[in-house]
């Protein structure tokens, strides 16, 4: 009787660990391996992608933000969950920011793979992935992690 309980406990523990690992990696903000920054807070991530962080903290270097296409699920999930801004407001904000002389808006690429390629090729690029595979993260550095709302 003891053995089945131990097996059940083991299986439950393993399942919880897998779920935790999956949740922790749901949304990641990534940068080039040579970027001296090791982590960013949620507020710093928000400021990068809203164009309000002009230099990486403690550095002399400007972040080059990489974005996914506006209509993509990853884009919606990232801005809803991590940045905390609604889609209608984000649309108006981006136009306001871009055309009022505040600065540049993130550079848009077509896919998660293109985000990784851009970051690998540019020391100060920064982007995000939603539910990435572990091997996608081998070539980049994770600066921020957040679980999705689910």
């Amino acid at each position: 009787m003891i053995r089945p309980i131990r097996q059940l406990t083991f299986l439950l523990g393993a399942a919880l660990l897998i779920m935790a690992a999956r949740c922790n990696a749901d949304i990641v903000v990534i940068a080039n391996l040579d970027n001296p920054v090791t982590s960013l807070s949620n507020k710093e991530v928000r400021r990068v992608f809203l164009g309000r962080l002009h230099l990486y903290p403690g550095t002399e270097h400007e972040p080059l933000a990489i974005d996914l296409p506006q209509g993509s699920d990853a884009y919606r999930e990232f801005y809803d969950t991590v940045i905390g801004i609604s889609q209608p407001k984000l649309k108006r904000y981006r136009a306001y920011y871009l055309f009022s002389g505040k600065g540049k808006i993130p550079f848009v690429v077509e896919s998660a793979q293109a985000v990784i390629d851009s970051i690998v090729s540019s020391t100060y690029a920064i982007g995000y992935l939603v539910q990435p595979d572990e091997d996608q993260l081998n070539r980049v550095k994770v600066l921020y992690r957040q679980a999705t709302a689910e």
Binding site: L53, H54, K89, F99, G101, F107
Partner: protein
């Protein structure tokens, strides 16, 4: 400005900064508008469907010259021509170098847009705001000549606790513009803008102090007559009346407060401005406000706006005109003409706007809007009666506009 352009071109030619850092973008609006009556004109809109009032196009180029030094320029063209220019004449809106001195401090030098209100910087970019146009009772036609400043500004961002940030903008420069036959030059103009923001709301206060010359070709003849009359009669009252028709080095103060708040699907935007003018001379007192309520439902954003506007030119001169007319009957025709001129600056209106914005494609939206004006104090607000008609008590402006950014 030419020197700045030369420097920018030289810097750009020498720049080794990556090509992917240059961003070319643009915006456009195509709008049709119509007033519901034949005896009134609002901007370029009258009783016939007309494209000029809300049709605009702009292009922008920006990029880094070095990691901290960036360049931005924007040219736009608008169907609404309030000055001496023709409709759709291209106008340089932005041309500046910006230098990121520290993570929180940015300096800009060149042609900038004035920062009176929340949407002053993107007044031509319809996609950046919910309405067909920013509420005209605050974003008044009278201030449009002062829409650009040639000079410099300094922006400091104070990162506060929690999600709060305070932006402080200090600026100095010169402003020049025309509205109808009135030329306005302000040199120097200086001031500050303070914006306290969180993720869901912002509060803003700005003030401008403008050392201003105002001249009107139409009124200059009357000014000359009053100087002659003063010399002829030896009575300074005529000089006092004449001085109400122009400004020379007069300090005007422009103040504005505003706020935005988003709560779930609801949004509120409100602003108020007031102009403080000296008691004598071309004393143009003006104030206005609006409150707008929005609701986001999928791709639809229905909205309403309540607003008011009140403008008066030099009330103190009218008793002087009465006094001069009683003492010098031969000057009565000129004095009555002057009274009419001063009273034509009187504008008092209240308005209510209902509209909906529909984001039917990425980067493209269409807006349907109806604005009802109630004119007070015998004025016709910011519009004009047509065909020598009596001033109307009210008017309705209908607008359909499609906005795009690319």
């Amino acid at each position: 400005m030419r020197i700045l352009l030369g420097l920018i071109l030289a810097f750009t030619a020498c720049s080794g900064y990556g090509d992917h850092n240059w961003q070319f973008s643009g915006f456009g609006s195509i709008g049709v508008g119509k007033v519901n009556r034949e005896d009134y004109q609002f901007g370029e809109a009258d009783n016939n469907w007309d494209f000029d009032n809300d049709t605009r196009l702009g292009i922008q180029l920006q990029g880094n010259i070095t990691e901290r030094l960036a360049f931005t320029t924007q040219v736009s063209s608008s169907g609404l021509a309030l000055g001496g220019e023709e409709s759709y004449n291209p106008k340089l809106q932005w041309l500046f170098l910006s230098y990121q001195a520290t993570p929180d401090l940015q300096l800009r030098l060149g042609r900038l847009r004035s920062s009176y209100y929340i949407y002053s910087g993107t007044r031509d970019v319809g996609y950046s705001y919910p309405w067909a146009r920013p509420p005209i009772d605050v974003y008044t036609y009278l201030l449009q000549p002062l829409g650009n400043i040639d000079g410099a500004d300094l922006q400091y961002t104070l990162d506060m606790s929690n999600d709060l940030e305070l932006d402080i903008l200090l600026f100095v420069g010169a402003v020049e513009g025309e509205i109808r036959d009135v030329t306005v030059e302000s040199n120097p103009t200086y001031g500050a803008t303070f914006t306290l923001r969180s993720l869901d709301w912002l509060l803003r206060y700005s003030f401008h102090i403008e050392h201003t010359d105002i001249q009107s070709e139409g009124l200059q003849t009357a000014v000359d007559y009053y100087e002659d009359l003063s010399a002829l009669t030896g009575d300074p009252i005529f000089n006092e009346i004449g001085s109400a028709l122009y400004a020379e080095g007069t300090n005007y103060q422009y103040h504005a407060i505003g706020g935005q708040w988003d709560f779930n699907s609801w949004g509120i935007i409100a602003e108020k401005y007031w102009v403080l003018a000296p008691d004598s001379g071309f004393a143009n007192d003006s104030d206005g406000w609006y409150v707008s309520l929005l609701y986001h439902y999928d791709e639809f954003t229905p909205y309403t706006v309540l607003s008011a506007y009140d403008n008066t030119l030099d009330k103190d001169t009218l008793p002087l005109i009465d006094e001069a007319a009683a003492q010098y009957p031969f000057a009565a025709p000129l004095l009555e003409q002057t009274r009419a001129g001063i009273q034509s600056f009187k504008a008092k209106e209240r308005s209510i706007t209902l509209g909906v914005r529909y984001d039917f494609m990425p980067n493209t939206c269409i807006k349907f809007e109806v604005q009802y004006f109630d004119f007070l104090a015998g004025s016709t607000g910011q519009g004009f009666p047509l065909n020598d008609a009596d001033p109307p008590d009210n008017a309705t402006l209908m607008t359909i506009v499609m906005d795009v950014v690319f």
